[in-house]
Amino acid sequence: MIIPHFTLNDFLPVMPVGVLMAAAIVLMLSEVFLTSTTRTYQAIIAALASIVAGGIAVNNAFEPARLVLQGYAVLDPFSSWTTAMVCLGTFLAVLLSAGFLKHRNAERGEFYALMLFAAAGMSLLSLSAEFITLFINLEVLSVATYALTAFLRRGPRPSEAGFKYFILGAFAAALLLYGAALIYGATGATKLVEVSAALPAAFAKSPALVYAGLGLVLAGFAFKVAAVPFHMWTPDVYEGAPTPVTALMSAGVKAAAFVAMVRTFLFLVKGIDPVIPFTVFSLLALLTMVGGNLLALPQRNVKRMLAYSSIAHAGYMLLGVAALFAPKLVEAGAKVGVLTATPLTGTAQDVSVAVYKGLLFYILGYTVTSLGAFGTISALERREDETRGNTWDLERFAGLAQRKPGWAAAMALFMLSLGGVPPTVGFLGKLFLFSAAVDAGLLGLAIVGVLSSVIGVYFYLRVVVYMFMRPAPIDAPAPFRHWTTELALVTSAVLVVGLGILPGTITEWFSRVGMVFGH
């Protein structure tokens, strides 16, 4: 390995990450020098940093797709949009946390810095085009989230959730690392471009090594995106983590891991029979969609239900991934060559563009909806709940519509969006994704997806029924008030409806992610 000499120009394409990192360091230093007891200013700095980083990422999304950082990362609209969505998720999660932590009397300085470090890891993960870089960024994001999961130290739940997440996360990272090592062993390269070029020869020489490597990398990613059967940790961890952190995990971590998985496998399937990746991803999508929805069905604990629902949503995204590897598209992609820096044209490529657009729009929709839903739940939590078990029981939502109609309306909106009911962003996301999958020839799987999302409507609507049609219990909690929480919820609600009614420009922008570096 030649130790690369980077110049300042090399780092310009990853500016969003630089902004997030710099802000995180500023926040940590401010903790040393400032001794103020309120820390809303930290939330504001963190929110501003994520806005700036997101703005730069949106700007980057219109640049042509290319390798940057001497082949260690890529800059293409797909990853830039992901970065922008991660920043949006971080922005909302930071605002939610400000109110949440103040209310819990748990405002400590490292929280926002950790959140920004996690966001930086997520953004870089979606850009990585080399195994060492990929692994480092996965760990940057994971270590920060382990610490965030156990941030509220009272009661046994946070430490258990944190440790469980740590063990399963370290296990997944070890699997991914083992896979990367085997692929490096087979090809002698760690940059995805070089790996992809050397793969056909490696297949001829030692197929077992390559298959084992690919399988382990896939298993590592499957843990991170919580695909069934690698989902066991999700409900416990999502339930035990502070709710704004859960929101960030369900949206940002998942989106980044998804994009990294798509990118890695776009390179790694070269030379392999195209039926294999297609079958594997289809199977994962099928299990995850059906499994997630069925497991969520009996849950009375709303936070746990949302955790299972996030598994189901990962299943719908996996449907999009499976569509990308549909034999029809792989054949067309093979003709385009390694770098598809120009907008793809022609029928098969149009489908490919539609799939990327559907995936991105789905991730965007899920980000705003999930943050809104978890945010509403977080506002109903009480500090004294930490030692009791029924914090998120459906009963807590009973009669919310009479007591706080605004909050109930917002929660109902998020639930409808998760269920995929028009006119919300969740409906449009499903529409784009499923129709793209049908075009790619995955009719059967898309039908299963639609049917399983019908199951989903039952447990989402149950929350709405409790809020609007059940009388409130006497000791029902009122949501706490803090302007940042309210700002975050209003922003999510506006985005959920706004993007659901007028997706216009956004979808047009997302269509350009046909320019994806890969294949």
């Binding site: 060492i132 946070p158 430490s159 258990e160 740590f166 063990i167």
Partner: protein
């Protein structure tokens, strides 16, 4: 011993790590198992590096060691937290993750 010997040794260590992860009841034991898995991979990386020539694998192994250390630091902090919250560090991952 050729490359295949190192690969088999690493695979054995990795499997031991997975076995330990599933069977150990003690949180510290579980962490040792995770460490064992990471080190098995490092062995693989260094062996491949020797096999291919060049030092990419060694650089990869160095990064992996550094990052695993950082990860374990957070893990140990979580073990301490677990101990403070519950008074002991035994856990039954296999049964707790069932559902």
């Amino acid at each position: 011993m050729g490359l295949i010997g190192y690969l088999l040794l690493a695979a054995g260590l990795f499997s031991l790590g997975v076995f330990g992860l599933v069977t150990r009841k003690n949180a510290v034991g579980v962490m040792v198992a995770v460490e064992l898995m990471a080190n098995a991979v490092n062995l693989n990386l260094v062996a491949f590096s020797r096999f291919h020539g060049g030092n990419t694998g060694q650089v990869f192994a160095l990064f992996s060691i550094a990052i695993t250390v950082a990860e374990v630091v957070v893990g140990l902090a979580l073990v301490i937290l677990l101990f403070r919250a519950r008074g002991d560090v035994t856990l039954d991952l296999a049964s707790e993750l069932k559902e």
